[in-house]
Amino acid sequence: MNIQLNGQPKEVADNITITALLESMELYGRRIAVEVNEELVTRSQFGSHQLKENDVIEIVQAIGGG
């Protein structure tokens, strides 16, 4: 199925969990935060939250800023 990941289209396995998505990107366990369709998904939900077709995912991190 297709999702939008940080502004880019991406093809992933059907019903993939956020944990599996992050693992495939070598981001699991890193200091990041995730939004699905403009709603925060907390870390404790990563394993159970399954993505759906056309979900819009944002993965963010801290960077230098003033």
Binding site: R31, T42, R43, I59, Q61, A62, G64, G65, G66
Partner: protein, 260 residues
Amino acid sequence: MTDKLTIAGKQYNSRLLVGTGKYKDMDETQQAIETSGAEIITIAVRRTNMGQDANAANILDILPPDKYTILPNTAGCYDVKTAVRTLKLARELLDGHNLCKLEVLGDEKTLFPDVMQTLKAAEELVKDGFDIMVYTNDDPIMAREFEQMGCVAVMPLAAPIGSGLGIRNKLNIMTIVENANVPVLVDAGVGTASDAAQAMELGCDGVLMNTAIAAAQKPVMMASAMKKAIQAGREAYLAGRMPAKRFASASSPVDGLFFS
């Protein structure tokens, strides 16, 4: 001297708060921030770059949350929704840490705050349990509104973000300070050490700056200068300056002159 800055119930020794943007590299960032003595440092929240080296240093690796109080900002947000989303993500990133800097911008050229949107965002975020340090205009009435709404600190601009123009309206900053029951920190527009000292002499509780250090020819040296300026300005404020007078007043006694 037991002159601490208290924000949202936590005490700090340093009254200089610094941003972490615009530095040449992570090494310079770390050195400048260390030298500044700042205990509260701002960060921004941005998309993880998918193509990047997974082992590349992250800002929070070199400036760890157990050593610094991390102040996530909403830079780049022009409406309530994006500001609220940004801070919810930041709270998650920082393991439930509630202290943050709210800025909702109104215009790309000036980066002046959109105070109407900022008010709405502040109201929503305070209700959601955030401790908001709010970036606003040098407007005493808005400062009062934010304080009454429950913001933990009010941060009027000295001048536009990144402009280095120094304090454009000293009288308004003084009025904001005199009226406030929460810390007032000048945020944005400081250019050099004397600007920072001036903010403190006006009675501000602290100063938040980024570009004044990062865009100096020698950022680490400027970080040191700013640290001293903040301390000097604070001490001058606490010491109470002499009244300015138009004409001279001799420093040596007139009595006892041996000539006439």
